[in-house]
Symmetry: C2
Subunit: 554 residues, 2 copies
Amino acid sequence: MRTVLNKMSSTTRRASATQESLHRIFTIPEAPDSTLGVIEKEMSENLLGFLGQHIVAVEKPLNEIEKDFACSALPEEPEFVSDHIHHLLNKLVAQSVHTSSPSFIGHMTSALPYFILPLSKLMVGLNQNLVKIETSKAFTPLERQVLGMMHRLVYGDNDDFYQQWMHSANHSLGAFCSGGTVANLTALWVARNNLLKADGEFKGVAREGLFKALKHYQYDGMAILVSERGHYSLKKSADVLGIGQDSVIAIPTDKYNKIDINALADKCQELTRNNIRVLSIVGVAGTTETGNIDPLMEMAKIAQQYQCHFHVDAAWGGATLLSNTHRKLMAGIELADSVTIDAHKQMYVPMGAGLVVFKNPASVAAIEHHAEYILRKGSKDLGSHTLEGSRPGMAMLVYASLHIISRQGYEMLIDQSIDKAHYFAQKINEHPEFELVTAPELCLLTYRYVPKEVQAMLEIASQDQIEVINSLLDKLTKFIQKRQRESGKSFVSRTRIEVNRYQGKKVLVFRVVLANPLTTKDILNDILAEQCELAKESQKYLPELLAQVAKASV
Amino acid sequence: MRTVLNKMSSTTRRASATQESLHRIFTIPEAPDSTLGVIEKEMSENLLGFLGQHIVAVEKPLNEIEKDFACSALPEEPEFVSDHIHHLLNKLVAQSVHTSSPSFIGHMTSALPYFILPLSKLMVGLNQNLVKIETSKAFTPLERQVLGMMHRLVYGDNDDFYQQWMHSANHSLGAFCSGGTVANLTALWVARNNLLKADGEFKGVAREGLFKALKHYQYDGMAILVSERGHYSLKKSADVLGIGQDSVIAIPTDKYNKIDINALADKCQELTRNNIRVLSIVGVAGTTETGNIDPLMEMAKIAQQYQCHFHVDAAWGGATLLSNTHRKLMAGIELADSVTIDAHKQMYVPMGAGLVVFKNPASVAAIEHHAEYILRKGSKDLGSHTLEGSRPGMAMLVYASLHIISRQGYEMLIDQSIDKAHYFAQKINEHPEFELVTAPELCLLTYRYVPKEVQAMLEIASQDQIEVINSLLDKLTKFIQKRQRESGKSFVSRTRIEVNRYQGKKVLVFRVVLANPLTTKDILNDILAEQCELAKESQKYLPELLAQVAKASV
C-alpha cells in the first residue's frame, strides 16, 4: 500500500514538474546568460566565427554520426532547454556543413547577409501563414508585390500592367514556393492544364484527369523537351503530373553545354508527326552543373511554332537579370510563358524561397481551387493559386533583400562572382596540372586534375587509350574531392558530364560555384594547391596513370 | 564636359557607396543598439508584448494596405538596414495577424515556445540544405531519426525494425515537406506509382505516364474516396497527379462528421463494378472544420478488401497520438499505409513543417529518383525520396521540441486543449443565445449565435421557414465574425458545413480551434460576451430575424 502511494505521489510530482516546465517554455523568455541566449549573442556578433568554432572541420564518417541519431523511442520526459542545446551543439551543429564558409565553393548555398538572421527571427515570431489573408494580412499584398517585382525583372511590363494585375483577386503574376522543384512542377502543371483545358463535353484535365484528356484530344502521348543538362526536377515533375519520366526528352547539347537548336527543332517535328503533343519546351538558364544558358530566343521561336508552353528554369541564373552588365546573357527569357527563380540561391536568402512567374496573369486560372473556409471565390488569398497550402512568410526576406541590397547591389555581387569565375578559370588554364573542362558563363565552372604528362598523352592517344586514362582520372578526381572534403579546409563538389572533346563520353569533374562574396582569390589559389598535394598522396591512381603514359609511349 | 565629368564621378561615388554597404551587410553584424538589435532584444524578452505592441489591433481594409505594396519597380539603390526595418515595422508588422494571441482562436496557428526563436535563428545561420548529405551532414541522420520517431508514434514497430530501416539508404520511413498539402500529395503519388507499377512490357506509371498505365491495366478510371469533410488538398493532389478532381469522391458523413462507412463500402463496390480502380481510401483524423475523426479501423478493412492504399490525413489530429489519454480516438491509424502529420500545427513548430510516414519502408521506392551530381544510387541523400528538392533543416525544430517538450509535455498540452474545448462547448450549450453546431472531439468546435426566440422557432418551424431563418442567421454570423475580427480584440473563423438537423443543408458557423496553451477560460467567456454585443449592433439581420419569428407565430 505504501509503495503504491509513494509511486502515485512521485507520478504526481513528475506531472507537476512537467506542467511547470511547459508553462515556462511558453511564457518565460530565455535569459541572456542562458545557453541559448549566449549562442544568439555569439551568432549576432560573429556568425562566421560562431560557425567556424562550432562546426568540426575534420569529417566524421556518416555511420559514426548515425550512432548519435539511432534511437527511435520518443523522449518520455522533458529535457532542460540548456541541456538540449548543448546536445545539439555537440552532436548536430558540430557535424553540420559550413555552407557559408568562403572556401566551400562546391554548392549553391553561400553566405547570408547579417540582417537576414534577425529578420528570420521576426518572421518566425510573427508565424504568418500565407495560404490566406486571415492568417497573413499585409504579408499577402507584400508577397504579391514581390512577385510583381520579379515579374517585372523578367518581363519588364509597364506600370499600368502591374497596377492592373498585381493585386487582382483572380489573377496571379506567379507563385512563391519552397524551392525550384515545386516552382518547375507548378509551371508544368499550369502548362498541362492550359493545354488540356475544358472543351465541349470535356471538362478539362484538372477535373477529368489525363487519361480522358488524351482520349478527348486524341493525342498518343505528350512530351517535355529540355537539354540533357536539364535539372532532375523536370523528370520528377513529369512523373508527378502523370506524364511520365520517359516523356521528358533530353536534347543533346553543343560544346558550350547549350541545347542543340536543330536537334530540338527536328525532335519537335518528329514528335508532332507521331501525334505526340509537345507540352512544353524548357530552356535552362544556368545549368546546375556548368552554369550555361540555352539560346532562349531561338527556343522561344520553336515553342511559338509548335504552340507549346515555353518554360525557363532559371532557378540558378535568374538573379543575373539584376545585373545590367550580364542580363544580356538571358536574352529571350522575356518570351517565356513561365520562369523559375530561386531566391535562396543567388539572391542570398535562406533555404526555402523559390518562385515561378507567369507572363500571362490569367494562366494560373488553370490551377485555381477553392474551399469553404478559406480561398473563397473572389478572395485574394494566395493559396488559391499555389501548389502548397500553408506556407511561411519567406517573401518578407526577399522583399527586405531587394530593398537593402537593391538592384545595384545585386549587380555588383553577380558581376564579382562572374569575374571571380573568370579569374579562377584563367588560373586553371595557366596551371600545368589542371584541365578546365567547362569555362564559366555565369559563376560556375568544372575542371579536373590531370598531370601534365597525361595531358600530353591525351592529345595524341587513341580512343581506347583515352578511355583507359579517363577512367583512371575519374578515380583520381573522386579521390581528391573526397579527401579535400574530409580534411575540412575547403570543398568543391563533383559531377559527371559529357565532354565534347572526348566524343561526348562522361568524365568526372570538380564542380565549382563562386557565389560567396567572401571567397577571395587567395582562397581559390589555396584550393588548387591543396588539390595538387592531395593528388600526390594518391598511392594508387596517380602511379597507375603515369604507368599508362609510360606504356603508351613505348 | 564638366557636367559629364561631374556625372561620372557621382556615379563612381554612388557605386563605391553601394560596394561599401554591400561589404558591411555580409561582414559587419548588426550592433545591439541598432534597430534590428533592439527588435531582437524585445522579441527575446517578451514576444507576446512585442507583437501586441507592434501589431495594430484595429483592422485596416485590405485595399488600404495594398497601397503600401503597390510599386512594382525594383529598388535601384540600397536602403539602410535600420530605415528599412522601420518601414517593415510600420507597414508590414503593424498590419500582420497576431497568430499567437491567446484570444485569436480561429486558426490552427498558435503560440510558439520561446526556445523556438533562437533555434530558428540557428537553423537559418547554419542554412543547411536537406536535399543531400553534402549540404546537410548530421541533419540527414537527424531527420531520419525524427521520421523514425514519428513512424513509431503511429505504427509502434519494435527496436529491431527501426534499427534495420531508419538509416537504410534505399528505404525511408517517410518524408519531411513544407506542409500537409505536399505530404498528402506525396502519399497519393506513392500510392499511384505502386498501384500502376511496372508489369511485363509496361515500365510503370512513373516512366510511361497515366495514359499508358490505364491502358495497360485496362481500368476505365481511378478514384480516391474520402468523406465530404476531406481537406481541399486532396482534390488538388488528384489534379496534380493527373487523376482529376472529379475522381475524388466525397462520401457523406454522419451527424458526428464521420464518414458513413456503409456509403463508403457501397461506393467501392459500385466503382469496382464499373471498372474504376479505387486507388486510395483516405481517412480524416481531425477534419479541418470540425476536428472529428473517421472510423479508421473500419475504413482499413474496406481498403484491405479492395486492395487499395489506405491513407490517413492526420495533419491536424496526428499529434493526439502523443497523448495516452486520447490516442484511442485514433484507433486504426496503425493500419494506414501512410499518414500525414503537420508539426507546425499541434506540435508547436513554426510554419513549414509537414511530414508523411509510410508503414512499409520500401514503398517510397516508387518515387525514387537519382541524378549525377547528387542523390547517386546507394547514397543516403534524403532528396531521392522527396517531392521537394532543396529544403531547410526544419527537422531540427521538431527534434528539439520532441526532446524539450517530450511526450508527457505534449500529452498535457493536448489534454488541456481538449478539456478547454469541452468547457467552451458547455458554456455555449448553457448560454441561451448560442447554438453548438458541432461538439468537440479534439479541440475544435463550431457554433453560432441564435437568439433564444429564434431557437424556439427552429424547433417547430416548417422546412421552408427553417431555410429562411438559416439564411438570415448566415448573414448574422458573417456580420458578427467580420466585426469581431475587425475590432481586433479576438478572432474566430467561419465556415459553412452541412448540418444533420437541418436536413444536411449548409449553414454558416463560427469555427474555433483551442490549441493555444495561453488561451484561458476568461478569454473564452469574453469572446461569447463580445459576440452577443456585436449581434445587437446588427441593425439589419437581427431585426429581420425577429420579424420572421413574429410573422411565423401569427
